[in-house]
């Protein structure tokens, strides 16, 4: 058997090696790190009823003046229920206000969840129709946006916030933003 003749038959193996390398690389890319086109932009303009008091309208001006988190959640969403105790504990540190967007939800179910698990939010917008969530580019709940003092979105997290994400990523980012000039 001569090497020259067997060259073409090695090609399929090389193709396989290339594809496997590609997949191995792909496995270590985080699918939740989809960059939002909204990063670096001012928060969308909106006005929604508050969850506790529907007669009171709340708007995007709440999100300016200090660094804040904007958390999209719903009582129907299993991952949000997992995330909830983490947010409640984090809110007790009073590092920054957390605003909630109750997304595509039943008001009573949302209130029941807060009653049972505690309320980490400074204020909650009731987005029953999901229209405001569309403006924020929300794919699903939970999603969390980090908003700076000028009301500019600086980061976005898809999926539940965990204690690990808080300690290694969010809290350092928040402190950096809080140190920026007003």
């Amino acid at each position: 058997m001569n090497i020259r003749n067997s060259m073409p038959f090695i090609i399929p193996g090389l193709v396989l090696l290339f594809l496997i390398g590609l997949f191995a690389r792909g496995l270590f890319l985080d699918p939740t790190k989809v960059q939002s086109p909204l990063i670096g932009k001012t928060v969308p303009t909106f006005s929604l009823p508050g969850l506790y008091d529907p007669t009171k309208k709340l708007d995007q001006n709440l999100l300016t003046g200090q660094v804040s988190l904007f958390n999209v959640w719903g009582a129907w969403c299993v991952a949000c229920q997992d995330e909830h105790p983490v947010l409640v504990a984090f809110a007790k540190t009073k590092l920054l206000p957390i605003y909630g967007l109750d997304y595509h939800d039943d008001r009573q179910a949302a209130l029941a969840m807060l009653d049972k698990g505690g309320d980490p939010y400074t204020a909650i917008f009731d987005d029953a129709s999901g229209d405001v969530a569309i403006d924020w580019g929300v794919y699903g709940a939970p999603e969390t946006f980090l908003v700076d003092k000028h009301g500019v979105i600086r980061d976005k997290l898809i999926g539940p916030v965990t204690q690990g994400i808080l300690d290694t990523q969010l809290i350092p980012e928040i402190r950096k933003l809080q140190a920026e000039a007003p």
């Binding site: 067997s6 193996g13 792909g26 496995l27 699918p31 939740t32 989809v34 960059q35 991952a79 794919y139």
Partner: protein
Amino acid sequence: MIPELGHLALMLALCLAAAQAWFGIVGGQRGDAVWMSVIRPVATLQALFVLSAFVALAYSFLVSDFSVQYVAENSNVLLPWPYKITAVWGAHEGSLLLWVSVLGIWTLAVTWLSRHLPQEFAARVLGVLGLISLGFYLFMLTTSDPFTRLLPAAEQGRDLNPILQDPAMAIHPPMLYTGYVGFSVAFAFAVAALLGGRMDAVWARWSRPWTLTAWLFLTFGITLGSWWSYYVLGWGGWWFWDPVENASFMPWLVGTALVHSLAVTEKRGAFKNWTVLLAIATFSLSLLGTFLVRSGVLISVHSFASDPKRGIFILAMIGVFVGAALTLYAWRAPTLARGGGFQPFSRETLLLLNNIFLVVAAASVLLGTLYPLFMDAFGLGQLSVGPPYFNAVFIPVMAPFFILIGIGPYVRWKHGDPKTTARTLRIAAVVALLAGILSLTFIHAAGFLGLAAGVLLAIWTGASAFIEPLTRLRQRMQGRNVSFARATLGMCVAHFGAALLVLGITVTSVLGVEQDVVMRPGDSITVAGYDFHFDGVHGVQGPNYTATQGVFQVSKDGAPIATLRPEKREFASVGNETTEAAIEPGLFRDLYLALGNSLDKGAWSLRVQYKPLVRFIWLGGIFMMLGGLLAASDKRYRRSREAEGTDPATVEQV
């Protein structure tokens, strides 16, 4: 207790699979008669153990044993019992158990139906199957054990994903997996042939019925999946080119090439290297499909729970299996003798072109599916590749392919005669041209040229599929004793199915009407000549959901046709909504109505669609499957051992 028994059965199956691989491959290589004599009992026992593990999990679902984590996550007391069984494969762990159980059934079939094969060869085939089973058992037991207990037990299960609570979805995965897994038998035959250094017409004849059977199940599985997405997802689309669909379509395309290439190897002893490579590629793509669907590399951002450990394991498994097979291939292939030569105009040439078109089509789907990953892996940004890419690449490849389907069966092996072929096909050509010209009357429709081209190709393919059966029938009526092999009939039926598919796709894409409207109770609208009157909405209580149901009266020219009741269902246990479209089905057109959102003052947004010939798409799939069934059951494949080993040149010509 039962889940523990299931777990134990899996572990025993793992040990037996290891023995099966060892005795089969090593025994086959050493020609050790004692070792080879234990392979069948070991393989049978291995399959029975994995099937009992499956039964154990199904039982846990039926009795709602929520102390099993997988059951608690995918079932619910209120779930109707047939869905409790189908919930077994509703998520990752159970679908893997289904995968290995289907492999167990294929293994049983091979043990029973391989007695006419030489002992070494059958042992090697079963050994390779044992190795594949071993890989999957290791995968399950280390990363995805379906029998893990949940302590304390849950009081109530989370319920099966509502979009999976549907009859078509219940049988879609088993059919698809039967196809996927069946290609592992074709792979095992190829590897066994490489190990033994014997790749000839006889090997191809042994391999053909298995490959055809796998192919027909995959065809049926994909057809069901398409039908399911049509009436469940609520958009009226029947193919989305999403990665999960592509994952099943790629092995289908390459598997179709393999079915045709095997014919050449069997009849003419040619294309051996290529056929073996296709068998390896088809199985690799089946594994790749499992990887893509299970690892989360391509799945959308919503797969929060994707676990890289699983992906790494499947990837390693692909690397080991396919890498070993390709190494063996690189070693053996150069030594193979070339098969019979052929002229430029011959059936071999046409089948070679068939293979090239199918492989190019599969490669273009692979490229489109992996391109986003490719860009991301090299830090070039994130993007997604959608239907425009696939349509732009796929249609130009498929158009010449369909011209060939019509010609191929009417060209002789080795040395064809263009004049004879042209004379045989002239009627089909005239009919197709007439149909194409007639469809130009839809000149007002956007894309009418595409319509004419699609109709022409479909009628051409369909008409040519009739020539062979009609000729044989005429000869018989003249009293001549002509044989008509089932394999040939199967080919004609499958090609006719392909014609129906193209006709359905073309007509529904070009002439279909789709309107998004807002209606209040009492309103009427007219779409494609049909009047839809909105009576109103009311609530409906299902076993594990509540629904809002709209009622619509459909009529044409004042004559009532149907009452359509589209629903939006809300599943309390998972807080999920599904859209149940209402469809008025017909062989020649579907009327499709889906309820959107409730707007102010009782108004609803709606999607109304008129879909002509949409059923031909799935009918085409069913015809292709039937063709495969006819071909696989040809008596030629059931010959006894004495008949084996015949020289390919003397084998009866189809």
